[in-house]
């Protein structure tokens, strides 16, 4: 076969330019640490990566949301604990009050303590979170459950017992609030009012006081079961976060498999490309210097 000058130059040059292109892609990969230099390098992987990125972002949001509800429940936990402590103190006071042998002064003391308990209970029922939202008003978060009008306690008719739901996974919402019913606020306040009235009177109606104490015991039960409920919700959130974290790790691993460059493989390739390029260059230089004209 006849090989012209331009033909042999063309063969050498196209070989060198291919090696150069391969080298430049490889350097780009090594620089970025990623296998894909552009999405067409692996269309399927690029679509999977888009989906994984979305999954990761969604999960991060779900974890944030779950942590928010957990904070909210922890706040409720503090509040119910203070209600429970208040109820325990009321219990002691009422037991003392039910015990007939006590002086006028003792009763005044008990009444003062019960009144202060009532105030702190009210403050708890009217508690707010860091956003300034009332904790026990259902979804009417701008409405205080209770207010005082000329010494009379008034329950706000605008509050409700609606659930406030937060999304914690695809299509899964979780209730994130407690209502005044959950902490038995109504009967606690009635019980305290009755107790204060009876113990404040010169002739307390012991039967009414006994009934108030029974109510108190049932409130303690109710609040304890609410506390257990809070605990179980927090557990559920932690489990959800755990699952999300696992999924997150899995997505990260998949992402790594799809896009991370193996440096071992890359450096092997680098060596072989460099060798090929050097060989082509040397051959080119040698062949170019061969000419019959040198013999003339």
């Amino acid at each position: 076969m006849r090989v012209s000058d331009s033909q042999s130059t063309q063969i050498m040059l196209s070989g060198m330019s291919k090696s150069n292109a391969e080298l430049s892609t490889l350097l780009q990969q090594m620089y970025s640490g990623e296998k894909l230099t552009k999405i067409s390098d692996d269309p399927t992987a690029s679509v999977k990566l888009l989906d994984l990125e979305q999954t990761k972002a969604e999960i991060t949001q779900y974890i944030d949301n779950a942590e928010n509800i957990k904070n909210q429940y922890q706040r409720y936990e503090v509040h119910t604990e203070s209600i429970e402590n208040g109820l325990q103190s009321a219990n002691e006071l009422l037991l003392w009050g039910l015990n007939g042998s006590m002086s006028e002064q003792d009763r005044v003391g008990i009444v003062i303590e019960l009144e202060s308990l009532k105030e702190s209970m009210l403050a708890t029922f009217n508690g707010k979170n860091s956003e300034g939202s009332y904790l026990f008003s259902g979804s009417a978060i701008d409405q205080a459950p209770y207010s005082m009008d000329a010494g009379d306690l008034i329950k706000n008719p605008d509050i409700n017992s609606n659930a406030r739901n937060t999304v914690i996974a695809d299509g899964i919402s979780m209730k994130s609030n407690l209502n005044i019913e959950d902490v038995d606020a109504e009967s606690i306040l009635t019980m305290l009012d009755t107790s204060i009235a009876e113990l404040g009177s010169a002739t307390p109606d012991m039967a009414a006081l006994q009934a108030a104490h029974d109510g108190l015991l049932s409130s303690i039960n109710k609040v304890s079961s609410t506390q257990a409920y809070i605990g179980s919700q927090i557990n559920r959130i932690e489990r959800t976060v755990g699952t999300h974290t696992d999924t997150q790790l899995f997505a990260q691993k998949l992402e790594g498999d799809l896009k991370d460059l193996s440096y071992d493989e890359a450096s092997l390739k680098l060596n072989s490309y460099i060798t090929a390029l050097e060989a082509t260059q040397k051959t080119f230089a040698q062949i170019s210097s061969l000419s019959l004209f040198n013999q003339l």
């Binding site: 076969m1 006849r2 090989v3 012209s4 000058d5 331009s6 033909q7 063309q10 063969i11 196209s14 552009k38 999405i39 067409s40 390098d41 692996d42 269309p43 399927t44 690029s46 679509v47 888009l50 989906d51 990125e53 979305q54 972002a57 969604e58 991060t60 949001q61 779900y62 944030d64 949301n65 928010n68 509800i69 909210q72 979170n129 956003e131 939202s133 008003s137 259902g138 979804s139 009417a140 978060i141 701008d142 409700n160 609606n162 406030r164 739901n165 937060t166 999304v167 695809d170 299509g171 919402s173 994130s176 609030n177 000419s291 019959l292 004209f293 013999q295 003339l296």
Partner: protein, 453 residues
Amino acid sequence: MSIYNIALSGVNANRTSLNVAAQNIANVNNEGYSRQQAVQSSIADTNSVGGGVEVANISRVADEFIISQLRSSNTELGNSSYSAESLGQLEQIFSFDGFNISTGLTQFFGGISAATSAPESAALRQQVLADAQSLGDRFNGLSNALLEQHAQIASDRETTLSNSNALLENIASSSQAIIELNASGRDTGLLEDERDLMLGELSKMLKVNVNKEADGSLQLSAANGQPLLINSTAATLKSTPLAVDPSQADIEVTFNGALFPVSSDMGGELGAMQAAQQEHILPMLTALNEMAATVADEVNKVLAAGIDFNGTPGQALFSYEPADPARSLTITSLNANELAFSSDGNLGDGGVLDDILTIKQMDLPISGLGSVTLSSAFSALSGKVAIDSRQAQSNLESHQELFEQIQSARDSLSAVNSDEEAANLMIYVNAYEANMKVLSTANQMFNTLLSAF
């Protein structure tokens, strides 16, 4: 015939051959040059041994078949290289983080999802506004980038058309020269090489049917038979932008005052330009427009059923120009308190947020993609660009390889080999000197003859 004349014809013929070798050596790096060969033949003389030698003709070593293969390979190469380049640009646009609609959607719905934990939170509401604006920005940015490429292709088309017109003019005048030289029996090799190069260049831009005659006359026509050139008369290619879209155009050929519309597939670069616009960019813009309009309409519809922080019925969050949704998608002037997240008027209620979140999972009809969720619509578009670009690259590679093969076949036959020319140089110099020796021998013989008297 005398020995003098025979030797002189040998000197002359070999000098011509040396000139041809010199011409070949001089043109060793001239792309498209076809080497020449001096064909020597002996001069017959019936009365004696013969009349010596002459250069019967100087032939141009070229193969019309290979040259025509090279032209069609040029057409394919021009087509596939423009396609690969324009898809490569599309692919870059789609990989740009700031144009990632999928991320924009994830952030927007993420903001909505975050708001479910405290719909009354001013910070979270503000975040929803910011995410909505950024989603709009992404749609605007992506569709602007696509429209810019659309316009870039239009300007490439204009440049290519004016280049083809200039080439057609040059080919016409070159053809005229070839025909005239041929008629007067002179060598046209160099002009033909030049014309073949120009035809190759023209073939890169559009598919050209070539009809060449031995006398040098030439007829060119476009893929569907529209006349482009007859001998020294060239046609003009002209584009008329479409009224509905100035970046697209109808292309017409004007030949001798007559107009011929050029049909859709012109082949070459011009064909690739049309394909890039009609098969890639425009369907993509349509899909993006539908996505933008859909996300805006669906979100607005759900918000309309809600009640905002001030107790008034919900207003639209997104707005867009119906003629151009993706490029104009933005948020309305409503403030964070006017986001109607509550389904019953209670400030802590986030029922509407749940409804907005369902839009994320909804299968919505998008042209060319079927019924898909919004974010999978974007991955589908991006995946399509990636696959098409990959396809275009491998097309380009195979056409490049084919072109190189044919170019190599052409060069193998027609290009100069300097070793060969060096050998020719030696051979013809030797022959030249030998003939000179014959002359001096004849001279000696003549002197010997003279001295006998």
